[in-house]
C-alpha cells in the first residue's frame, strides 16, 4: 500500500465554534491505481488532500489520525521531512491553472525550480533537457519557445499542462489532482484526462483525483470515495458504485446529473435534498 489515511480529523477553529471539515476519514491508495474523492463543495474533499500534503494552515489543524506514506506517518515526521517529500514523491495539481502559476516568472523558470529543489545533483544543462522532456511529455507544442514564455501567454489547457509537467517532473509516487479539469472546456478536459492516464501507465504513478464531476470519476477511477459534510458516506470500486450505488446520498448525486439517453428530456431531475441529513443513514463501505 502506497498511502494509508486512517481516521483523519481536520478541524477549523473560529472562536468557540469548531468546524470538523474532515471527520474520521480513512482510505487507501494502492500503487499505480486511481482513487477519486467526490462530493459537493464544502464536503471536505480539498481539505483531505491538503491534509495529506501537510498544507493545512491556521486556523485549521490536523487533530487526529495517521497518514502513512511508504511506511512512515507523515503527521509525526516533522516539516523538514515533509519538505523533501512534497513536490518530489507526492506532487499536486491545483484547480485553477490561472492562479497557481506565478505570473512574473517564465514557465521554464518555474519548472526548473522543482528540479533545483529536489534533484540538486543535476547541472543547469541537464535540468534544461529534463524540463523540455517534461513539456514534450505533456504534449506542449514548441516546448523550447514555451520555456521562455510567461503564463499569461498560454491558454487554460496549456497552463494546466504546465502544472502537470511540474507535478510530474520528479516522477512522484503519488499525484494529487484537485479538480484539475473543472476550469477547462470539455474537449480540453478530455485531452488532460487522456494525458494523466497515459502518464500513469508509463510511470506507474498513483493518482488521488478530487472532483465533483461524476462523469470524470467514471472515466478515471479504480476506487471511489464519496464525501458528505466531512464524512465518507460510501466507498467502493468504480464499477460497484455506478452499477449499484447503495447510500441514499450517492444515489441522489448520481440521479441529479443530466446524461444523454438516461433521463427523459425536460423531466425534472432528482435533487439532493438540503433538508435531509444524509449522515443518519449507515455508511456503505465495501
Amino acid at each position: 500500500m502506497l498511502l494509508e489515511v486512517k481516521n483523519l480529523l481536520t478541524c477549523f477553529h473560529a472562536d468557540e465554534y469548531v468546524n470538523k471539515a474532515v471527520n474520521d476519514v480513512s482510505f487507501e491508495i494502492e500503487e499505480g491505481k486511481t482513487v477519486c474523492i467526490v462530493g459537493e463543495s464544502g464536503s471536505g474533499k480539498s481539505i483531505t488532500s491538503l491534509s495529506i500534503m501537510g498544507l493545512i494552515e491556521k486556523p485549521g489543524i490536523v487533530e487526529a489520525g495517521e497518514i502513512i506514506f511508504e511506511g512512515t506517518d507523515l503527521l509525526k515526521s516533522g516539516p523538514a521531512h515533509m519538505r523533501t517529500i512534497r513536490g518530489d514523491k507526492i506532487a499536486m495539481i491545483f484547480q485553477e491553472p490561472m492562479t497557481s502559476l506565478n505570473p512574473v516568472y517564465t514557465v521554464g523558470y518555474q519548472l526548473d525550480e522543482v528540479l533545483r529543489l529536489h534533484q540538486s545533483h543535476l547541472n543547469k544543462k541537464e535540468r534544461y533537457a529534463k524540463v523540455i522532456d517534461a513539456l514534450e511529455l505533456v504534449g506542449m507544442p514548441y516546448p523550447e519557445e514555451k520555456y521562455r514564455e510567461y503564463p499569461f501567454k498560454l491558454s487554460g489547457g496549456q497552463r494546466q499542462r504546465v502544472m502537470i509537467a511540474m507535478a510530474m517532473a520528479c516522477e512522484p509516487k503519488l499525484l494529487i489532482a484537485d479538480e484539475p479539469t473543472t476550469a477547462l472546456d470539455v474537449t480540453i478536459q478530455a485531452q488532460v484526462l487522456d494525458l494523466m492516464r497515459k502518464l500513469q501507465k508509463e510511470k506507474g504513478t498513483s493518482i488521488l483525483f478530487i472532483t465533483h464531476d461524476l462523469g470524470v470519476v467514471a472515466q478515471m477511477a479504480d476506487e471511489v470515495v464519496v464525501m458528505y459534510r466531512g464524512h465518507i458516506v460510501e466507498k467502493a470500486s468504480a464499477k460497484e458504485l455506478f452499477k449499484d450505488p447503495r447510500h441514499p446520498y450517492t444515489k441522489a448525486l448520481l440521479h441529479s446529473i443530466p446524461s444523454p439517453g438516461k433521463n427523459k428530456r425536460k423531466s425534472r431531475l432528482a435533487t439532493v435534498d438540503e433538508n435531509i441529513d444524509y449522515l443518519q443513514f449507515p455508511k456503505e463501505i465495501r
Binding site: 459537493e40 467514471a218 455506478f242
Partner: protein, 261 residues
C-alpha cells in the same frame, strides 16, 4: 413565430499591440444567422472563445454589432431609439454565469430584486414589495431573506436571486449565460428544474448558453453549435445528438465523459 431573427451578425474587435501598430482584428462573431421561435429553449454551445457570450451580449444590446441585423418581433433592434430600447430591455432579461459577481454585495436581496421595477415602473413602494415577495416565493426563496445580503447565501440561492431579478418584469425572453456552470451538480439540478418550471408557467423563451452538452441535451429544443465565431451546425436536439453533421460537433459529443457501466 420567430421571436428573434438574427441575420449576418458580426462583431469584430480591434486590438492594438502598441499605439502605432496596425490593429489586428478579432472576429468574435463572424457572420452568424439563426432564428429563435417563441416558447422554445434555444441553446448555443461551444468552447470558451467561440463567441457564444458575445452573441448573448449583442442580443442584450450590451455590445453593438459591427454589422448585421437582429430582428425582435419583426423590428430591428440595432436601429432602436433610446425609448424603444428601454421597452425592449423590459422584454429581454439576462441571467449571468457567476452568481458571486453579478449581485451587488452592498445591497439587500429585496432591493436587488426590486431594481428593475424601480427603474422601469412607477409602482408604489408597497406594490413593489408585494411583487418582490411574490417572485421570491416563485423561485423558492424564503420571505425572511428579504433583508439579507448576497454573501449570506449559497451559490444556488444566489442564482435564484438572479433568476428572480430577471423574472420580475415579466419578460418574454430570458438569456441564460452559463447559468449553472458555476454550481455543483446537485445544485445545478435544482436550478435547471426551476428554469423548466418557470418556462412552462410563464411560457418563456430561453436562449441558453452553455458548454455542458449533458445539460443542453436535457433542456433544449434547438441546439446551435458555434466554433471560432461561426455557426457550424444548428438543428433540433435529436438530430444533433443522433446524427451530428459537422466534425466539430462530433468531437464535442465524443468529449463528454459518460457514465457507462
Amino acid at each position: 413565430m420567430n421571436l428573434f431573427e438574427i441575420k449576418n451578425l458580426k462583431k469584430h474587435y480591434e486590438i492594438k499591440k502598441c499605439f502605432f501598430a496596425k490593429p489586428t482584428i478579432v472576429k468574435a462573431v463572424n457572420d452568424i444567422s439563426f432564428n429563435v421561435k417563441k416558447g422554445e429553449i434555444h441553446s448555443i454551445v461551444g468552447e470558451s472563445g467561440c463567441g457564444k457570450s458575445t452573441t448573448a451580449k449583442l442580443l442584450m444590446t450590451i455590445e453593438k454589432p459591427t454589422e448585421g441585423e437582429i430582428f425582435f418581433q419583426g423590428k430591428d433592434i440595432t436601429k432602436f431609439t433610446p425609448e424603444e430600447l428601454k421597452e425592449y430591455r423590459k422584454k429581454v432579461q439576462i441571467i449571468f454565469q457567476d452568481p458571486y459577481s453579478s449581485l451587488n454585495p452592498r445591497w439587500k436581496v429585496g432591493k436587488i430584486i426590486a431594481e428593475p421595477l424601480l427603474l422601469n415602473t412607477d409602482l408604489s413602494n408597497k406594490e413593489i414589495k408585494d411583487k418582490v415577495y411574490a417572485i421570491m416565493k416563485k423561485v423558492g426563496l424564503n420571505d425572511e431573506w428579504y433583508d439579507r445580503y448576497p454573501h449570506q447565501f449559497s451559490g444556488g440561492q444566489r442564482q435564484r436571486i438572479g433568476i428572480a431579478r430577471a423574472l420580475i418584469l415579466n419578460p418574454e425572453v430570458i438569456i441564460c449565460d452559463e447559468p449553472v456552470s458555476a454550481l455543483d451538480v446537485s445544485i445545478q439540478a435544482q436550478v435547471l428544474n426551476l428554469l423548466l418550471d418557470l418556462q412552462e408557467e410563464f411560457n418563456l423563451t430561453y436562449v441558453f448558453i452553455s458548454h455542458d452538452l449533458g445539460v443542453v441535451e436535457h433542456i433544449s429544443d434547438i441546439i446551435t453549435v458555434m466554433y471560432f465565431g461561426d455557426i457550424v451546425e444548428s438543428n433540433d436536439v435529436d438530430s444533433i445528438f443522433a446524427n451530428p453533421q459537422h466534425d466539430y460537433t462530433k468531437k464535442l459529443l465524443s468529449a463528454i465523459p459518460v457514465i457507462n457501466f
